[in-house]
């Protein structure tokens, strides 16, 4: 069974190719079947592989499939090879499964769009790349998948290319993530140069053999990889692209910019955890980055009007939790949160997509309202997703995963009290913006009439995800056990806080957020408005609304200088050297020509002068 692994990326690749080349001439039903089918098969296949993997674990807990040697120069021989262990297995299963659901959703959501087949081609290509990323046996192949998903993200954000705004958002996403990728590439060079391989497993072994804890090489390598992770996962300081990425079609946002691709950074760090253990400074940086991001993004989420942007900031914030978990050494918890997040965030986007389509592509939450009765299915699914996101204690998956992370922060040797407090504050914020969203959109007075109701292809995936958003949390213990096969367990220590206290505080934090949201947006909406329009509130609002002014800052620091210098130097200043030389030659020509007067006596004078000169040189030099 395991040797069919290569089909998992291959099928969507092939289907993407077919759709790209022949898609425009295929009927839309065929496109839908092929597009969604090409994901269904790998998803099923992956479940079977998972079953095989669990029932008969391969030797060493990992299965490697080498297809061919990709590049071969001297000792640099990365292969096209897949590596399946507990970590990648979980990731791939979740990715293919969620992808499948979202593809099904898309068959209805995108119906009638001019670029129907193009959409599925991109989506299939994305899944293929994502799976490649996750299964890659070496960092180069991982990088291939990494760039591939980045490309698909770009293509899908700018899917409706006729509006330049979408294109610009796509370009921004691509470029900002590529800033991180550049760092990551340099990290790859460093790793190969120092360790002589890019195979992840060999690399981790050699690194722990060769490098001391805290060795500058390890620090540099871990930091450079972190750069890539930060870009892809929209963490500080490269988080600015993700909110704009919401320009893409909603299924795209659900799949790429919430459930799967943006967590690639988390995967990368988990995959190369050995390096981070060698570089505790960087690991701490990961935790701090996560904590800072989750708070900043939480604040920003509070101020947004666009339903998708709220969700985008919440994604940034939730990935912040995952980084936070990685940073404190709770590797398994990070992956667990990835999984639950994939379910409930995809669910939220799908439900949001239903709302948006129902309201004629209305994105502004303040022009929604009262949809609880109009779109009950959407309301309930959204509510479940929202509760999971905010961490409704005991019954939602989000609660369990987040609870585990907070507990780890308190009980890890790498954790600190400050981090734990930040995590708790994040819970309050999450609960606050989530319920603000729910109350504004689904309660109150209807503002826009509903024009379109979703069909089964859109609702069934949402129901499935809603189910998972609740039940996935109960798998905490078996999940942790399974993860322990691939990732090290938490180094317990630190504050030694008991589970009960931690859970209680988290529950209270959730409740606090809920209550504030209820008070400010449902029972007493004027208060919310007043808070936003007070002097301090306005400044804060604008500041948070604009993502802490980071775009403004980057524009001035990077974008404008580059654009300006490119525009100013359009004609290539270097060329003026040569133009100058030709001018000089022409000038010489003009002056020299003045000697050709046509007058006989002048000519004779030159001969006389020339000979006098020659004589003078001959005699006196």
């Amino acid at each position: 069974m395991l040797d069919l692994l290569w089909l998992v990326p291959a099928i969507p690749f092939a289907s993407a190719f077919v759709l790209a080349v022949f898609g425009p001439r295929m009927r839309s039903k065929a496109v839908a079947v092929l597009g969604a089918g090409a994901i269904a098969v790998p998803a099923v296949l992956m479940l079977l592989i998972a079953a095989a993997f669990v029932s008969a674990p391969p030797a060493g807990g990992a299965y490697t499939q080498v297809l061919w040697t990709w590049i071969g120069v001297g000792s640099f021989r990365p292969a096209i090879a897949f590596y399946l262990d507990a970590l990648s297995l979980v990731m791939v299963v979740v990715v293919t499964f969620v992808s499948f659901l979202i593809h099904v959703y898309s068959t209805e959501f995108m119906r009638g769009d001019e670029g129907y087949s193009r959409f599925f081609a991109y989506m299939n290509l994305f899944v293929a790349s994502m799976v490649t990323l996750l299964l890659a046996d070496n960092l180069l192949l991982l990088y291939l998948g990494w760039e591939g998903v980045g490309l698909c993200s770009y293509l899908l954000i700018g899917f409706w290319y006729q509006d330049p705004v979408n294109g610009l958002a796509g370009r921004k996403a691509f470029i900002v993530t590529r800033v991180g990728d550049t760092a990551m590439a340099v990290g790859l060079f460093l790793l190969f140069h120092s360790l002589g391989t890019l195979r992840i497993q060999d690399l981790l072994h050699t690194a722990s053999d060769q490098w001391q804890i805290g060795s500058p090489y390890a620090v540099a390598a871990a930091a450079l990889l972190l750069g890539g992770a930060v870009g892809k996962s929209a963490q500080l300081p490269l988080q600015t692209w993700l909110p704009d990425a919401m320009a893409g079609p909603t299924p795209t946002s659900a799949l790429i910019h919430a459930a799967t691709m943006v967590t690639a950074g988390v995967y990368l760090i988990a995959r190369t955890h050995g390096l981070y253990e060698l570089a505790p400074q960087v690991q701490l940086a990961v935790a701090v980055t996560g904590a800072a991001t989750l708070l900043m993004a939480g604040c920003s989420a509070l101020t947004q009007n666009d339903i998708k942007r709220v969700l985008a900031y919440s994604t940034i914030s939730q990935i912040g939790y995952m980084f936070f978990a990685l940073g404190v050494g709770a590797w398994g918890a990070a992956i667990f949160h990835f999984m639950t997040h994939a379910f409930f965030k995809a669910l939220l986007f799908l439900a949001a997509g239903v709302v948006i389509e129902a309201l004629h592509h209305e994105h502004n939450i303040f022009r929604m309202g009262g949809l609880r009765k109009e779109l009950p299915a959407a309301f309930w699914t959204f509510l479940i997703g929202g509760c999971a996101l905010a961490g409704l204690p005991l019954i939602t998956a989000g609660y369990y995963s987040k609870d585990l992370i907070l507990w780890s922060a308190a009980n890890s040797t790498a954790g600190t009290a400050g981090l734990w407090v930040a995590g708790i504050a994040g819970v309050v914020l999450t609960s606050l913006y989530t319920f603000r969203l729910i109350f504004v959109v689904f309660f109150g007075q209807p503002a826009t009439p509903v024009s379109h109701r979703p069909g089964p292809a859109m609702m069934i995936p949402a129901f499935v995800l809603a189910f998972l958003s609740i039940t996935a949390g109960f798998a905490t213990t078996p999940f942790a056990a399974f993860m322990a096969k691939a990732l090290p367990e938490l180094h317990e220590g630190g504050m030694g806080m008991s589970e009960v206290i931690n859970s209680t505080v988290a529950g209270l934090a959730f409740l606090a957020g809920l209550l504030v949201a209820w008070y400010a947006y449902l029972s007493n909406p004027a208060l919310g408005r007043a808070a936003a329009t007070s002097r301090v509130g306005r400044v804060l609002h604008r500041f948070w609304f604009s993502d802490w002014g980071m775009d403004w800052f980057y524009d001035r620091l990077f974008v404008w200088p580059v654009v300006w210098s490119a525009k100013a130097n359009k004609a290539d200043i270097v060329d003026s050297i040569y133009t100058g030389l030709t001018r000089l030659a022409a000038l010489c020509h003009r002056y020299f020509s003045l000697t050709e007067t046509g007058r006989l006596r002048w000519y004779a004078a030159w001969i006389a002068g020339g000979s006098a000169f020659a004589v003078a040189i001959a005699m006196f030099l």
Partner: protein
């Protein structure tokens, strides 16, 4: 016995005078005459050099120069006539249609 050095200097002065004549005069006939002066100065130098080495060769060359000058002048005068026919002047400065 000819004073060699002084004679060469004399020839040089004569030659320079010829050059000045060529440069200063506009009239083609005078220019040709100045050229004659230059040629004869060269001839004088040959005679002096021959005398220095007690050889007749210098004087022989002078004869060559005379003959050659005649030949050159004959062509020159033909062109002088043509110049006058076309331009009604002997001023060489009119001959500057080609330049640049």
């Amino acid at each position: 016995m000819l004073p060699i050095r002084e004679s060469f200097i004399l020839a040089g002065i004569l030659f320079t005078l010829g050059v000045i004549g060529v440069l200063a005069r506009r009239n083609l006939v005078f220019i040709l005459m100045s050229i004659e002066v230059m040629l004869n100065a060269a001839g004088l130098a040959f005679v002096v050099a021959g005398a220095q080495w007690r050889q007749p060769d210098g004087q022989v060359v002078f004869l060559f120069i005379l003959a050659m000058a005649a030949a050159e002048l004959s062509v020159g005068l033909a062109l002088v006539l043509e110049l006058y026919r076309q331009y009604k002047t002997l001023d060489t400065d009119v001959l500057s249609r080609m330049r640049g």
